[in-house]
Every structure is written in structure tokens, then in C-alpha cells.
């Protein structure tokens, strides 16, 4: 267990009849940035809450920094820093006071604490604002302060739950810089969740794609993209009467794999799109398929998700998450 910062084996969390996490297993190495990528409601936050000892798993085991999350929860708490998805600062206090209280609760004190607060506030460029009340901070400043606070007690593992959710592009880039600097300077392992493809791609050394509480793929971003081929062609096909199913018709070299998507769209995995497109169009015509649209691109993580699930991550936003939250809320009321 010692070479891994986080080990999870078959973690399950159920809220009543709703299964938020349906058995996830993964390992995070020391010093890397490991990401959970998936739509809202996929079980990312619930997993973080279990690893951070705030929720007891329904089944399964996990170790963080070598400590069991249920049996040694205190040792786990000492080794981690957490930036929650929702704000968790005391907005009636100043930035400095928030840091000071955190340090005291974590058993720090004296010169060491004062020095460390200054160091961390400078790291996130908030030192000039240290005596301002947090309620006057912008969303980006709050996020930065939360990161500084989570790092104050020098945790071995830093959990970031959707670190740039709701922030403007400039602020996001800024926060990415901090996260990358943390990795480069070493000393802290980062576990983050996100539903932003670009964020996962930009930051993660390795990532797991999670959907409906299950990990459906896990690898480096580059390896994951290789799943969908070096190029990916999207065709919108209108079948003329009597024509065969489009994937049956098109699955022959240079097409390595064909995957039907919604509304007559198909995704074709090829090694070189510029040469493959003329061949494919010719074949489609000869088989009686009318091609309405064609496009190709280098695969992104979005294509990977599309390839693995048949849906895009963005389609999931709102609907499913809200539904899950709604169900959980309903259950809470019933319990009372």
C-alpha cells in the first residue's frame, strides 16, 4: 500500500435506494495528479467525501496515505487537505483569520503557523488582501484562499472537488497554474474531480472516467484518446430505402471501428482522416447511403467519453444531477 497515496477497492455508497457510487477501484501514485472526469451526478463528489472520511462507504475499502478511511479516520484527516465543491470559508472573518483558525484546529501554532500562513497567502497571491473580510472576495479569490488553507498544514494528499467550477476562463487558467506548480514543486499528491474536459486534459497525469458511479476507463489522457484512434471522423448519414445499417456498410479498412451515435451520426476511428474521408465517401455512395455532414478532428477527451458512453458529458449537465439531488432531498424529508 505504501507506494500509493490513495487506494480504493470496490467503494460503494448508497443513499437509500439511490446508488451514488457503484463500486470503484483505483490507485493514485504519490506525486501525481489523478483526476475523476465525469458528468454531474456521476459519483465524483461522493467518492471524495468518502476518501476524506466525511461519509462512511456502504461497502468496500480505501486507504489514503496508507491509512484506512474508516478504521484510521483521524490519521487520514491529518494527512489530507480538502477543497470542497461548495464554499467552506467563514465569510465573516478575514482571509488571515480563516487561515489562522484552520492552523490552530490542525494543531499548529506560534511562529511556524504565522510563517506558513504568509507563505501560503503569497503562493495564491492573496497576501495583500489578508485583512479583508472574505465576504468581499470574488469567487476566484475565495477558491484561491481555500486552496491555500487546504495546503496550510502540509497535507500529503490534496483533494480538489471541481476546483474551477463556475469561474471565468482567466481565473481558471490562474488556478491551473497553482495546481501545476504544486505538482512540479513536489511533495503533494493531488486528487481532483472535474466535468471539464479541458481541465482534465490540462492537469491530470492520469485520470479515470466515471459515469453512473462506475469507472469506465482509466489511463493517461493520451492513452485514453488513443482509444478512439488517432483521428476521428463524424458522419451524418441519411439512409436511403433498402440501404444497409450505416456501420455495417462502412466497417472496412481504413475504418478501424465504427460506432453509431444519435440521430444518424456515426463516429469512425481511423489513423489518417485526410486520406480516409474520400474512400469512405465513395463507399457510402456505392452502398446507397447519403452523407449529409462530415467532419473530423483529433480526438479530445470529449470524444473518448462519447465513444465510451454514446453521450456527451455536457448533455448530462443539470438534468441527471438535479434529479439525483432531488431524490436524495426527498429521502431526507422522509427520514425526518
Amino acid at each position: 500500500m505504501t507506494e500509493y497515496a490513495v487506494v480504493a477497492e470496490g467503494l460503494v455508497k448508497k443513499f437509500g435506494s439511490v446508488t451514488a457510487v457503484a463500486g470503484v477501484s483505483f490507485k493514485v501514485r504519490y506525486g501525481e495528479i489523478f483526476g475523476f472526469l465525469g458528468p454531474n451526478g456521476a459519483g465524483k463528489t461522493t467518492t471524495i467525501h468518502m476518501l476524506a472520511t466525511l461519509l462512511k462507504p456502504t461497502a468496500g475499502d480505501a486507504w489514503v496515505a496508507g491509512h484506512h478511511i474508516v478504521k484510521e479516520s483521524d490519521a487520514v484527516r491529518r494527512s489530507i487537505g480538502v477543497v470542497f465543491q461548495d464554499p467552506s470559508l467563514d465569510s465573516e472573518l478575514t482571509a488571515y483569520e480563516n487561515m489562522y483558525i484552520h492552523g490552530k484546529i490542525y494543531g499548529m501554532g506560534g511562529e511556524e503557523l504565522r510563517y506558513r500562513i504568509e507563505e501560503m497567502l503569497r503562493f495564491v497571491e492573496l497576501y495583500e488582501h489578508r485583512n479583508r473580510l472574505v465576504k468581499y472576495f470574488s469567487g476566484g479569490m475565495r477558491r484561491r484562499l481555500e486552496i491555500a488553507r487546504a495546503l496550510l498544514h502540509k497535507p500529503k494528499v490534496l483533494f480538489l472537488d471541481e476546483p474551477t467550477l463556475g469561474l471565468d476562463p482567466q481565473t481558471r487558467a490562474h488556478i491551473w497554474e497553482y495546481i501545476k506548480r504544486l505538482r512540479d514543486e513536489g511533495g503533494v499528491t493531488i486528487f481532483l474531480t472535474t466535468h471539464y474536459m479541458d481541465e482534465a486534459e490540462e492537469l491530470c497525469d492520469r485520470l479515470a472516467i466515471i459515469d453512473h458511479g462506475k469507472i469506465i476507463a482509466e489511463d493517461t489522457p493520451n492513452q485514453l484518446k488513443r482509444l478512439v484512434g488517432s483521428d476521428i471522423i463524424y458522419l451524418k448519414v441519411r439512409a436511403v430505402n433498402g440501404a444497409p445499417n450505416s456501420c455495417d456498410a462502412l466497417s472496412a479498412p481504413p475504418v478501424m471501428e465504427c460506432k453509431p451515435l444519435r440521430e444518424g451520426m456515426v463516429a469512425l476511428k481511423v489513423s489518417d482522416a485526410t486520406q480516409a474521408i474520400p474512400v469512405i465517401l465513395e463507399r457510402a455512395a456505392s452502398m446507397g447511403l447519403r452523407v449529409a455532414e462530415v467532419s473530423y478532428r483529433k480526438p479530445t477527451l470529449n470524444d473518448v467519453f462519447l465513444y465510451l458512453t454514446g453521450r456527451e458529458i455536457r448533455e448530462e449537465e443539470g438534468s441527471e444531477a438535479d434529479f439525483l439531488k432531488h431524490v436524495i432531498r426527498m429521502r431526507r424529508f422522509r427520514r425526518r
Partner: protein
Amino acid sequence: MSRTLDPFVIMAYRQFRRFLRTKARVVTSILNPIIWIAFFGLGWANAFNFPMAKAIFGGVDYLTFLTPGVTAMAVFTASFIGGVTVIWDKQFGFLKEVLVAPASRTGIILGRIFGDAVIAVLQGLAIMALSFAIAHNLNPYGILPALAYAFILALGFTSAGVALALKMTSMEGFQMVISLLMMPLIFLSGAFYPIKFMPGWMKWVAYINPLTYAVDGMRHYLSGVSTFNPLTDLAVLCIITAAFMALASRLFKKATID
């Protein structure tokens, strides 16, 4: 330093810091008792301004009778309502920051209760000062023992408020329960009129009302009249406060986010 003491001290400090910043809370919690003393107290004091009236209140004038009760009421209200900060912490997320910390949960919650209790007593002290300005027969030597009773009362009802808040999720729900309990507890505590003139059933409610014993004890030291032995008052208050504190610690130890 210690795993329990550090969180205790820092949480008490935090409650203080926050309270000083939320001036609205200071104003409303002091204003309410002032209104009671001024409009209710002065009005009745004139109505009871006849020779036989003192007999009703155990031999003292009405303001001397009333003011220790209103002081207890102020402490009680401030401490019970103080639990609302737990709901704020739930809604604004600070609770999670505390729950994920490797510190002693008992230390954290007792520190917070201690801090809020001291704040409530300070508000009581302000009302007490006003009482001495208005009622002229109060005993200044009774201030310290009365404050001690007030502090035990405050610890108890801050704990009760915290325990209730840990069980509730919405601000509205908490405020509803609190205001539903507050008025009857105040009226049935003997703060405004002597228990011995209450109808039989009301007396029984007054006897099981913890606030009764704080009012009675504080009145004993400040006005020189009381229904029970002040040591009985003290014992009852201590038992109830210990029970509420144990309940709040227990609930906080088991608290998770949901």
C-alpha cells in the same frame, strides 16, 4: 498544544470574532429585553405602585422583582438563538471544514458553546447594568453570583440550541421551533409574575422549566426574594446544563455531511 484544548480555545475565539462583526445580532438581542424593561416593566411598576403591592412580589417593588427575570430572559434568548450559527455553518459550508479536521470534536463543539455562552452572558450584563439604573433596590453584591447562574444557564441553552441546529437543515425550521418554545418557556419561568399565583397546571410546567431555576436563583441574589433554595436552583441548572452539553457533544461527534 493539546488536541482538545487548542480547538476549544480557537472555536471560542472564532465565535467571539464573528459576534463582534455581526452588529445586527448584538443590537437585536439587547434591544428586546430593553423593550420589556422599559415598556412592560415601567408600565406595570406604576400600576403596582400601591402599599399592598409589594406583598405580591415577596416584599419588593415590581421593578426589583422583574429586572433579574428579564436579565435571565436576555441570556436565555441569546444563548438559545445562538444555535443558529450552526445552521449558518451548515449552509455556508464552514461545518465541513471543521468536520474534516483531525481535531477532537468534543473540543470543537464545547469551545463553540463556551464562546457563545460568554457572549450571551455579556448581553445579560448589559441588561443588568440597565436594571441597576432603573430599579433602585437591587443588591450590587448579588451581581457576581447572578452572573454565575446566568453562565450555567447560557451553557445549557447554547448546547440545546446547538443540538437542535445539528438536527435541522433549514434556517426557517430552526427559527420556527425556537420561537415556538421560547415564549412559553419565558412566560412560565416566573420572570414576569410570581409562580405562586399561577394556576395549578401552570405551576407544574414552571417547575419542569429549566429557566425557572435561573430566574429564581438570580432573583435571590439580586432582589433578595426567591421561591426555592438557591442551592436547589444551582443543582437543577447544573444537571440540565450537563445533560444538554452531553447531548450536543454526542450529536456533533456523530455528525456527517448528508
